[in-house]
């Protein structure tokens, strides 16, 4: 997605907090009171927002296209899953461990892969993810493979118990984690580090020329993104108390990239819109039209093609364009 002129998009350069930025969080809190029956779905949405946010960091800011981001989501999920299997069920340290393991895998693979560009890089991200997926299937005596791995989690801080029947605690837990990580991501993208990533995306050659350590910057953001994806995966494992090798699948890697693009890449809030729209529409399509025919796939495919053809930067980009037009007319 071309960002156009940076000056024309204040959301990319102006770091001050706008009042509108409170909206997603207020909506999230409102959902708890208005739609208590839907908290299960809402929790999944929060987790996918976190996952999409991690991918947006490398796709939207650093310009690294990955079709294998499920590798890190899965790595985090299995970190929590295996810790629980061998007796460590404390949730917060579980998430930290998930971040550490996924971040390490991101660092190790990124160090090697990020020397390449274009199709080769895309292929390598796919290959790493599929390799981990195959590995998890092969080691099914440890990972549970297709049959899955049940996960136990202690009450958070010893106070809030996870329940399979109501998602109340899971929901606020996921929301709190999302908020903390979001604050971290937001300050990162407006930092000089974040600016240098956008610089690399816009012109790698020029960043080399001004002496920016391009490879190091890419590896750093890739590891950070992997660690966040790991947290998302860990949350997923804890909230659902159950895990299969699906968390490493190529399909998930594709879905999360689609969420980022549908929402609008490189604009922080694109991940929120994209993941929410994706999961809500998926659920609605399946409820209304059934799962017998792939209406959902048809809808996603059409939406993607239209997004790319429209030249808009996802739903958020579209909203901003419409808003500008509206304001332009009235003033």
């Amino acid at each position: 997605m071309s960002l156009g002129s940076l000056a024309a998009a204040p959301i990319l350069t102006d770091h001050r907090v706008r009042p509108l930025e409170a909206a997603p969080w207020l909506i999230a809190i409102a959902v708890y009171f208005v739609l208590p029956a839907q908290l299960g779905l809402a929790t999944q949405i929060l987790i996918m927002i976190l996952f999409a946010l991690s991918l947006d960091l490398i796709v939207g800011y650093a310009g690294i296209i990955s079709l294998g981001h499920a590798a890190f989501f899965g790595a985090g999920a299995y970190t929590v899953g295996l810790l629980s299997k061998y007796g460590w069920t404390e949730p917060l340290t579980g998430l930290l461990a998930a971040a550490a393991i996924a971040g390490l895998i991101g660092f190790g693979s990124g160090w090697v892969l990020l020397r390449t560009r274009g199709l080769t890089l895309l292929m390598l991200t796919i290959a790493v993810a599929i390799m981990l997926h195959e590995l998890a299937n092969d080691l099914d005596t440890i990972t549970g493979g297709f049959d899955g791995l049940p996960i136990e989690t202690d009450p958070i801080l010893g106070l809030f118990r996870f329940s399979a029947l109501s998602y109340d605690n899971q929901y606020f837990y996921a929301l709190a984690v999302l908020f903390l990580v979001f604050v971290l991501v937001r300050s990162t993208v407006y930092s000089p580090f974040g600016r240098s990533l956008v610089g690399i995306k816009e012109s790698t050659t020029r960043m080399h020329a001004i002496g920016s350590p391009v490879h190091l910057r890419l590896v750093q953001v890739y590891s950070m993104s992997a660690a966040i994806a790991g947290v998302a995966g860990g949350l997923f494992a804890q909230a659902n108390a159950y895990l299969t090798t699906q968390v490493l699948s190529f399909g998930l890697s594709g879905d999360v990239l689609i969420m980022v693009i549908l929402g609008g890449a490189g604009q922080l809030y694109g991940a929120f819109l994209g993941a929410t729209a994706f999961l809500l529409l998926e659920r609605q399509t399946e409820l209304v039209l059934g799962t017998e025919f792939p209406y959902w796939q048809l809808a996603v495919g059409t939406a993607l093609v239209l997004t790319v053809l429209s030249g808009q930067n996802g739903l958020l980009g579209l909203a901003i364009t419409l808003y500008r037009r509206l304001r332009g007319r009235t003033s």
């Binding site: 310009g63 199709l119 895309l122 599929i130 195959e134 996603v300 495919g301 053809l309």
Partner: protein, 290 residues
């Protein structure tokens, strides 16, 4: 000893027929990617549609197998030109992300489309009698159909090698892959050249999808299931190289079958280790230009 030898012959033979199929399907993708740098993830969808059209022509129009395959390949080639002109051409030289998303969107639409028309179950192509059974080569018997695949695929590969290396059009394609601007400045119409190779590549993919139904199957998930394999052939072989695609397909086919045979529980893992190793050693692929 005989057993080991027998196993090795089986692996080599099955691997070869699988590899030839991969080559026929993927080679067009390699050349078009090399020419325009366009990441076309929907290439496998053309192969899939080729399979479905062949089934339809055989069951509804009662056409014989080979004629149906040929007609399906021509039809898909024509269809691909429509897509190329209407959609793809807008995104030449644009960033890869747009190309990836556009073509993934098309894959989803194709997967959904064939499910609506043909249903979610795999389709079966009735192979004609003369291609069933086994051929006795004296020292061993081989399934006739796989022998047929190797012969036809080998002929296609030979024709492509010849066309690429020895004909005027082949020279133009090679020139355009090497240096597009230079090729244009000596009067080669690269846009038209590209449309032609795109049609040829899609037609070959369709033929491969139809011919390979016994090995790859014809089902709606085809376009996604084998997408990664086709991409591996392209990336490992090197963009725009017919020879590279051939070597990569051979490598992938034989390793895949050897893995399935020797370590069935970890064969997938195997392939990706090799892919990563090759791409790290030669990021532009075996025969690619760095």
């Amino acid at each position: 000893m005989d057993l080991v030898l027998n196993a090795m012959v089986s692996i080599a033979f099955d691997g070869l027929s699988f590899a030839i199929l991969l080559f026929v399907i993927s080679v067009g993708l390699s050349v078009t990617m090399g020419l325009m740098g366009f990441v076309n993830l929907a290439h496998g969808a053309f192969a899939m549609v080729g399979g479905y059209v062949t089934v339809a022509l055989m069951t509804h129009a009662g056409m014989p197998f080979l004629a149906a395959v040929a007609l399906a390949a021509l039809g898909v080639a024509a269809l691909s030109v429509v897509f190329e002109r209407l959609l793809y051409a807008r995104f030449y030289g644009e960033d890869e992300l747009k190309q990836v998303l556009l073509t993934i969107g098309l894959v989803f639409m194709a997967v959904a489309g064939v499910t609506f028309v043909w249903g979610p179950n795999p389709q079966i192509i009735q192979t004609p009698d003369y291609l069933t059974g086994q051929i006795d080569f004296g020292f061993r018997k081989f399934p006739t159909y796989r022998v047929f695949l190797i012969v036809v695929g080998g002929a296609i590969a030979a024709a492509l090698f010849f066309g690429f290396d020895r004909t005027r059009i082949g020279a133009q394609i090679r020139a355009a892959v090497d240096n597009r601007q230079m090729a244009e400045s000596v009067g080669i119409n690269v846009g038209r050249l590209f449309t032609m190779t795109f049609a040829l590549g899609s037609g070959l993919a369709a033929a491969g999808g139809a011919l390979g139904s016994e090995i790859l199957g014809i089902q709606p998930t085809f376009a996604l299931d084998y997408l990664v394999f086709f991409l591996i052939v392209v990336a490992v072989g090197g963009l725009g190289s017919v020879r590279g695609a051939f070597v990569a397909a051979l490598l992938l086919g034989v390793i895949n079958n050897a893995g399935n045979y020797l370590y069935p529980e970890a064969s997938g893992f195997f392939i990706y280790v090799v892919v990563i190793a090759v791409l790290l050693w030669r990021p532009a692929g075996l025969y690619g230009k760095a």
